[in-house]
Subunit: 241 residues, 2 copies
């Protein structure tokens, strides 16, 4: 069901992409940027609920989110499942498979989404000619590791309320970096998905949203949320004990 969209002369390229300041091209010179334009030969449309790749699939490419939202999730042999990340435009998914050259998670669209296909072969070829690209890749893998470590601290040492506050602030900041409002947005994920990401049950997430609203920190109606008191929310998790 995935729709492939071939790139034509007219298609937008890396050098003109609005996500340039968040995606692979970060910090590249104009000259390097031009070279980047050959990198993406294909895009894929992933409809809401569809899966871009699955755990165990051979890794042939990594993907840059162009628009939409993806979740990545892992499932253990004994059926436990956990969401490991929500991915906004400009973010790269699939890096976790580079170790074994096969995907280490599933990637599923939370809304209609389009990704740029970065074939590993092309990537290697281009990297040889473009050291900044190679460096960029290490950076992105490093970021993935530090993100996961931050989540380990969250899951290992924060209480439910702190986790959810941290989640809201993180989402807010990432949306803001993409030109959206930092205080009012639509969460593309269900209470259950938020719970899975944060190691909580959906009822707990729901109760906390209600509690935050009652405390005047947020306004919430379904997935539409408005952060009324950013500082107050931050206090929920940044206090020293």
């Amino acid at each position: 069901m995935l729709t492939s969209i071939p790139i034509t002369e007219m298609s937008p390229r890396c050098s003109t992409c609005a996500m340039g300041q968040l995606c692979l091209p970060v910090g590249m010179s104009q000259q390097d940027l031009t070279k980047m334009d050959t990198l993406v030969q294909e895009r894929i449309r992933v409809h809401k609920g569809e899966t871009l790749y699955r755990m165990g699939d051979p890794l042939t490419a990594v993907y840059a989110v162009r628009f939409g939202t993806l979740k990545t999730h892992v499932t253990t042999e004994d059926g436990r499942s956990q969401i490991t990340g929500f991915h906004l435009p400009g973010e790269i998914v699939g890096l976790d498979g580079l170790g074994e050259m096969q995907h280490a998670s599933d990637a599923t669209a939370l809304e209609d989404t389009e990704v740029c296909v970065v074939r590993l072969g092309d990537l290697q070829t281009l990297s040889a000619d473009l050291p900044s690209l190679q460096h960029q890749f290490l950076r992105l893998m490093g970021k993935e590791i530090t993100h996961d470590q931050m989540m380990l601290v969250t899951l290992g040492s924060m209480r439910a309320e702190e986790r959810l506050a941290a989640f809201l602030i993180n989402l807010s900041e990432r949306l803001s970096a993409r030109g959206y409002s930092s205080t009012e947005f639509v969460m593309r994920m269900s209470r259950e998905e938020i719970g899975s990401y944060l190691g909580l049950k959906l009822e707990t997430v729901s109760r906390l949203f209600s509690r935050f609203a009652e405390a005047g920190l947020i306004q919430i109606r379904q997935r539409h949320v408005k952060l009324v008191d950013l500082a107050g929310i931050k206090q929920l998790y940044s206090r020293s004990c």
Copy 2:
């Protein structure tokens, strides 16, 4: 206080190191292995309790554990601390800093430990001539990511008992791969450190050990543990609900 140990003609090298099958050289040809011997020009002795590097330190090298045990731990601005890994001989630490070129965690010795210093400069030089080394590096970063994701599942969806069982089995398997007994070993970390790693309090860890012992799954005296019923321990966390 860290002791540097220069490498001489007589020192052991990668090509003859007993950890070869677990460390950087995994899967390399004899020819490539010989080239590897120039990579490590220095070793460092880290005494129990000493710190090899700290968060924020500029990243000049990564380190292969030669003998001993390290823990890596992160601390957030608000003072929260979490152990992100225990590292046995043959494992590489420092990879989490490759993103920003500065260390993203502290590394502290749990017992007297020696590490091989892999300078990033030398690594880059050698990689150009040794594609298998470059590939090996991606593999190791990938492994780091999948390890962290496994821990996310552990912290996000397992109960205390399941976490500790998984911890014991994981330690057992890694020790076994290093030629130690898989059923009887000394844990180099305190109850509190185990708790930090697993997102539990030290009392909980202690109680669980006692409970496991009472159930006949293990024998335990301080840090010396004997896994009596491996299958039983595995059942604690691999059952389907």
